[in-house]
C-alpha cells in the first residue's frame, strides 16, 4: 500500500517522519554519495520539505519499503534551484506539472535483481494514480538515462528537458513524463496487479506487522 501524506501529516507521525528521513539519508548520502547533504544525525532533510511537498510512502509488513517526494512546480523546486544545468530553455511548470524527487527503494526490498522491484513499480503506479486523481498529468524527473527506456516501456510519453550530465559517477538527464489512464493500465498490467495502490488515511505504527 502507498500512503500519500503532506509534510504536516508526516510530522504528526514522528515514527514515519524519522523513517522517511533516515531512509533518504541511507540511500542518497550513504549509497549515492551526495555529500552536500551529510548531517551528523543521519537524517536527510532539505529546503524542499516544505508545506506543499507530498510524501509518498510504500509500507510493507510494517516497514518503510519505498519512498518518493512530489514537489509542485508552481514554486521553487530542485530543477530550477539546484539542477539548473539540466534544462535548456524554460522548464515546464504549472498546477498539472509536479517534480518527482528522492525515489528510493529500501535495500531489503530490491527483489528486482537488475530489473525494477515490486516496491519500485508500486511507487510508479502510486504517483500515476495520485496524479490522475488531482489533474496532474506530467512529472519532471531527474534520473539515469537508463530509466528513459523503462518509462517508454510503461507507455509514458517522455521528453528530455536538457542534455545529460555527469554528477560524480552518475549520468543524469532531466525528463518530462506525460501520462494518462492508458499509462496506468500498462503499469498495472506490467505488475499483474490491477487494484489501486493508493491507500486512504495513515499507515499503522511502523514495526506493527499486520496479523495474517
Amino acid at each position: 500500500m502507498l500512503f500519500s501524506l503532506t509534510t504536516q501529516e508526516l510530522m504528526e507521525r514522528p515514527d514515519l517522519w524519522e523513517a522517511v528521513h533516515r531512509l533518504r539519508y541511507k540511500i542518497f548520502v550513504e549509497e549515492m554519495g551526495w555529500t552536500d547533504l551529510q548531517r551528523p544525525d543521519g537524517l536527510e532533510v532539505d529546503q524542499f520539505d516544505h508545506d506543499e511537498a507530498v510524501h509518498q510512502l510504500v509500507i510493507r509488513n510494517g516497514e518503510l519499503a519505498g519512498y518518493q517526494r512530489m514537489l509542485p512546480t508552481t514554486r521553487a523546486h530542485l530543477l530550477t534551484e539546484v539542477l539548473a544545468d539540466l534544462y535548456e530553455g524554460t522548464p515546464p511548470s504549472g498546477p498539472n506539472v509536479w517534480e518527482l524527487t528522492r525515489y528510493a527503494v529500501a535495500p531489503g526490498f530490491r527483489d528486482g535483481k537488475r530489473g525494477v522491484s515490486t516496491v519500485g513499480t508500486e511507487l510508479i503506479a502510486g504517483f500515476v494514480e495520485w496524479g490522475l486523481k488531482r489533474n496532474v498529468n506530467q512529472v519532471i524527473i531527474e534520473f539515469e538515462p537508463m530509466w528513459v527506456l523503462r518509462a517508454l516501456q510503461l507507455h509514458f510519453l517522455a521528453k528530455p528537458l536538457g542534455y545529460q550530465r555527469t554528477y560524480g559517477n552518475q549520468q543524469v538527464v532531466a525528463t518530462l513524463l506525460t501520462f494518462n489512464e492508458h499509462t496506468l493500465e500498462v503499469v498495472r498490467s506490467r505488475r499483474s496487479h490491477f487494484a489501486p495502490v493508493l491507500a486512504r488515511g495513515y499507515p499503522d505504527r511502523l514495526g506493527m506487522r499486520q496479523a495474517s
Binding site: 528513459v148 527506456l149 517508454l152 516501456q153 510519453l157 517522455a158 506490467r190
Partner: protein, 243 residues
C-alpha cells in the same frame, strides 16, 4: 538549429514511426552525422543459444546483411569483445576501447577483423536494462567514426528513445496478435472439438454440414495461430474462449 533541438525533433518524429525499420532509419539519420551508419540492438542471447533463435533477440537492425549472416553462422556473439564488454554493464564506450581492454583471443581478433571487411571499422556500444531486468545491447558502427564526449551522450540518448519506441511497437504487435475474435459458431465448434467430437459429430450436433463444421474449425485454428487442432483447442482454453 542546435543539437538539443534536433534531438527533440527526432524524439517527436519517433512517435510517428510505426515500424522497426522506420525507427532505424530515423535514428541513423541522426547518427550518420558522426559516421555511425549501421545499427544493431537486441536482448542478449544466453551463451549457446541455438543459431536459429539468435535473430529473435533482435529489436532494431540495419546491419550489413552478409555480416549478420556470418556473425550468426560463425557464432561470433560468444567471442565478440564488444558483447563481453557490454555484459559487464559499462556506460557507453567506443568499440576500440573494448578490444583494447581485454587480451584478444584468436576468435575475438577475428570478429573485429571481419567486421572491418564490412566497413564497420569502429563504433560505439552501450547496454540498457529493461523493466524486467533484461539487458538490451545497442551497437552502432561505421567506416569513419568521429565522436566527441558530448556526442556520446547525445547518440546514446537518441538511441535509448529509439529502442523504447521499438519495444512499444513490439508489445503493440504482440497485443494485436493476442487479440483474436472467434465467431459464436467457431467457438461452438471448438467447444465440441475440445470434448473429442469429430467434424461429422459436430455437424450433427449443430445441425450444419460436415464441410461447414470443418471450415469453422480451420478458421479458428488459423486465427489462434495453431498448427493443428490439439494446439488450437489448447490455445482457445488458455485464452478463455472455451472452457
Amino acid at each position: 538549429m542546435g543539437h538539443f533541438d534536433r534531438t527533440l525533433e527526432f524524439i517527436d518524429q519517433l512517435q510517428h514511426a510505426d515500424t522497426a525499420a522506420a525507427v532505424c532509419q530515423k535514428l541513423l539519420g541522426i547518427t550518420s552525422e558522426f559516421g555511425l551508419t549501421a545499427l544493431m540492438a537486441g536482448t542478449v542471447p544466453q551463451p549457446g543459444t541455438p543459431r536459429g533463435q539468435q535473430k529473435d533477440h533482435v529489436l532494431l537492425c540495419d546491419w550489413p546483411g552478409e555480416w549478420l549472416e556470418r556473425y550468426v553462422a560463425r557464432n561470433y556473439v560468444d567471442h565478440d569483445p564488444v558483447v563481453s564488454h557490454m555484459k559487464q554493464l559499462q556506460a557507453p564506450f567506443q568499440w576500440r576501447e573494448a578490444s583494447q581492454g581485454i587480451r584478444i583471443d584468436k576468435s575475438s581478433g577475428e570478429v573485429m577483423g571481419d567486421a572491418s571487411e564490412f566497413k564497420l571499422c569502429d563504433g560505439m556500444a552501450f547496454p540498457l536494462v529493461t523493466l524486467d531486468g533484461q539487458i538490451v545491447m545497442v551497437s552502432l558502427g561505421g567506416e569513419a567514426v568521429e565522436l566527441s564526449g558530448a556526442d556520446f551522450g547525445l547518440v546514446s540518448l537518441a538511441a535509448t528513445y529509439a529502442i523504447g519506441r521499438a519495444m512499444q511497437l513490439h508489445t503493440m504487435a504482440a497485443k494485436t496478435i493476442d487479440h483474436v475474435e472467434l465467431t459464436p459458431r467457431e467457438r461452438e465448434c471448438m467447444q465440441w472439438a475440445a470434448v473429442g467430437k469429430s467434424e461429422w459429430e459436430i455437424s450433427q450436433i449443430l445441425g450444419i454440414s460436415e464441410h461447414t463444421s470443418e471450415k469453422h474449425l480451420l478458421n479458428a485454428k488459423s486465427k489462434l495461430g495453431a498448427v493443428n487442432r490439439v494446439q488450437a483447442v489448447a490455445e482457445a482454453i488458455r485464452r478463455g474462449y472455451i472452457s
